[in-house]
Symmetry: C2
Subunit: 502 residues, 2 copies
């Protein structure tokens, strides 16, 4: 969930100044339009880790817009009045009316998440709370509330740095308490609770927007631009839509940095290194696949990537280490007639392997949020809900003990051009290049954005993406092989040697 | 959830024969229309208690329609093939294509519910399963599957009778196993698990239809009529609707028996009895309200009922026993402007009382599924989702320790006529009767249907409805007073005397 947010995003000061002025004016105008329109309220939920700029953002929103039409509520300790009522009471009390913006600094999630992190809430209770939150937010969306949820994130390193900086400055020292450091020590546990929580409460109608919190200019632009776009989009609705069609926009990138651009695509692996390593790791994989404990797990590996990134080549280096009776290759192209006649995931469920088998997907269910999104084969409402559907699907797999490995093979635009040209020139490679490849290439930026959203929304603790730098084929093939091999070895490691009864 | 289903519904043999023939033909025709149309699949889920006619119904559907276009899957023990995959695999494998009907005899809920009843599944795991089922069913609905879920119910008495009957007949003795009797012993536990399960998995797009299972003719007509209506309604869609608008119809009543008609509205309480009892119970209530433990709970009582059923009179007999500083009367009429500007439940949340207080709602949030439904002030999609929203709201109240008592005061149509006439004749009562009352009276049957659906869908283990026979005012007032007093006494009973720290 936090792949993009963990990057060191920055916005240049001059560029920020230019934009901030315009953005501020646009926000204020939109706020008055909202009031004039009066058809719906906006509810902004501010959440996330300490020190990630939550209060600064709330202050800024109040400064940039007309605070008379913003209802800001900070939900710290409940008052006596509130404690005597059910926990939702305080949020209902602060509910903004149509035409206004409500900012909830902390909301219904705060208490359960914190209690779960501190170990004061059991799993059953926490699961029940998640269910209640889902239903509450669905109801608000159904009632026409524009619900915008921002999750402010810092990497562990960033949070430590931030706390140290605040402490070093006499003017801000008071803001850091022992409690902050206590919470910092719980960082990993916090993320472990939040990852599935965000995953399950991110729906198509009320998705979480993860805001990288380290750089103030970056986070301001992220929130303000998104808020502006979301309110404007809803104001532009002429005839009121039904909830299922009301999908707030995903945030547009603020800087040029993203999970793909952060990769060093050219890696130095030489042919000699490759040969040696390839033999070693193919050997290890072959051994792992013959381990008797493999009879208790199964492996699904999926390969996505730019056209000509070398998916097929990498896959062949994996399968050549394996017994052909043990694996199936599943190339995903256009769905067949019988596949189109059933819900989307059916075509993938039918290929889920038995125990002791590998299934390799050459392209996968991620087509829904890649090609179907970019080429507009699927409606926004449909690909937006696919993120959580895919997360549910993958959770079902991993909870059953399937080893799930997801590869994105990334090459640069230049490298792709070279490979396309070479494919056209070499006779036996010509079948691999079509007009469609050239057409897709023209949409490079759109695909890049879709990939980054995909990684952010589906790289979860239970099923992380492995991004593979693939300009150098040797490196790419080895990384794929090693990652897969290690994932299988880890799974075998945690499988008891003795026969398990179910 | 099972109020209607616990009644002894019957269908006369001759009437059944006449209808069955037509129904059968209509089902067959509709099945071919579905195949011809080919836009969506129908998935029928058959669930519920043992011995309630599930398998008979599955057989009958296959007999009445063309079995070549029905895919029936019974999910008993999973096969080896299936056991080696995640639990959803077997359901995906059996997923019907567009244009066909799939019947799932048992489905994704079977295993979790059974395991929970037998104590083999913890609360956390069960809550997680409920969440997964909600998301799976939402996804299927979003993908265009017409999902029809039938829950076959028997009261405990009916189930015992059924098992005994099967055992008594040599031809059917084989059908009753020791396991059946073992499960019968768990009946109460089963219902305790199923009540919240049904509540949470009943959504507007995929509501459970509870089928009274004791009378074969009744249950056949219930399922077949509903299936027919639901498929026809969807076939009639000219332009495809989005999911939020796709609400399968609620089942229409099959016989004249319902929870209201089952009441003996004329009760024999005399004025003398009334006076004596009134004094006694008002005294008890006054004592309970002065108990120091009352400082730790609060009471919400809501009064709904036919026009002129005596809600106000009953309420006054309650409040006259109480200290005026301890209670608030909240008459619910048309919403104010500031209430209309916020999500529906806001107007009720604002009146949730502090501890040690009573809040009396004269009409309530149930307006959504009564007047707003009947008068078409709310769309079907909106009042259908209100059932589960209201259940969530009431769960939030009761989990906080609010004592929630819900009264429906029922009078007969004749009695209402007499009271209306009297109100017109007696000067000081004239303000109580308006043109609107006479208009509402014309929709008596529509309101009656709405009340029965309301009771079935919102009378839950945590917040049951109390139906009050109110032709005799003395009886009605005493029943209200007693029920409220006992509910409060029970709550105080389970509150520790010592001061509790929160």
């Amino acid at each position: 969930m936090f792949e993009s947010a963990n990057l060191e995003h920055r916005v240049d000061k001059a560029a920020y100044k230019r934009e901030a002025l315009k953005l501020r004016q646009a926000l204020l105008d939109t706020q008055y339009d909202l009031k004039e329109d009066g058809r719906f309220p906006v509810l902004v939920v501010i959440a996330g880790v300490e020190g990630a700029g939550k209060s600064e953002t709330v202050n800024q929103l109040n400064e940039w817009m007309d605070p008379r039409h913003i209802l800001t509520s900070a939900f710290a300790e409940p008052s006596d009045e509130e404690r005597e009522r059910p926990s939702q009471y305080r949020f209902w009390r602060a509910m903004p009316p149509k035409g206004k913006i409500g900012i909830f600094f902390g909301a219904w999630h705060t208490d359960p998440v914190l209690q779960r992190v501190l170990g004061d809430m059991g799993d059953g209770e926490f699961q029940r709370e998640i269910g209640e939150i889902q239903r509450l937010e669905k109801m608000l969306a159904d009632e026409g509330v524009l619900l915008l949820k921002y999750w402010f994130h810092l990497s562990r390193r960033q949070q430590r740095k931030r706390l140290e900086e605040l402490e070093a400055d006499p003017k801000t020292r008071w803001r850091v308490s022992d409690l902050d450091w206590k919470y910092f020590k719980l960082y990993k546990k916090f993320i472990k609770v939040c990852d599935p929580f965000l995953r399950k409460t991110s729906t198509a109608q009320a998705p979480w927007v993860v805001v990288p919190g380290a750089n103030p200019r970056y986070r301001t632009l992220t929130v303000c631009r998104h808020l502006l776009a979301a309110v404007r989009e809803r104001l532009a609705e002429k005839t009121p839509k039904r909830t299922a069609d009301r999908i707030p926009p995903l945030p547009a990138p603020v800087d040029r940095l993203n999970v793909l651009r952060a990769l060093k695509l050219d890696q130095p692996t030489t042919k000699d290194e490759y040969k040696k390593e390839l033999e070693k790791w193919q050997g290890r994989l072959a051994v792992a696949a013959r381990d008797r404990r493999f009879g208790k797990v199964s492996v699904i590996a999926l390969f996505e990537g730019n056209d000509a990134a070398g998916k097929g080549g990498a896959l062949r280096r994996v399968t050549s280490a394996l017994d052909a009776r043990r694996y199936t290759n599943i190339p995903i192209a256009a769905p067949t007639e019988e596949e189109r006649a059933r819900p989307y995931l059916w075509r993938f469920w039918r290929h889920v392997p038995r125990r002791g088998r590998f299934a390799f997907f050459d392209r996968s269910w991620y087509g829904r949020v890649l090609v179907e999104r970019v080429e507009r084969f699927a409606d926004e409402a449909d690909w937006m809900r696919a993120y959580s559907e895919i997360n549910d699907f993958e959770q079902a797999l991993t909870r059953h003990g399937v080893v799930l490995v997801k590869f994105w093979l990334a090459i640069s635009k230049d490298e792709q051009f070279r490979r396309f040209k070479r494919r056209e020139q070499v006779a036996f490679k010509r079948f691999k290049i079509t007009e469609e490849d050239w057409r897709n290439r023209k949409k490079w930026d759109a695909y890049e954005g879709a990939v980054c959203d995909m990684v952010d929304r589906t790289s979860t603790a239970i099923a992380p993406w492995t991004l593979v730098e693939a300009n150098n084929k040797y490196h790419a093939r080895l990384k794929v092989l090693k990652t897969l091999c290690r994932a299988l070895e880890d799974a075998l490691e945690s499988t008891p040697k003795k026969k398990v009864k179910r």
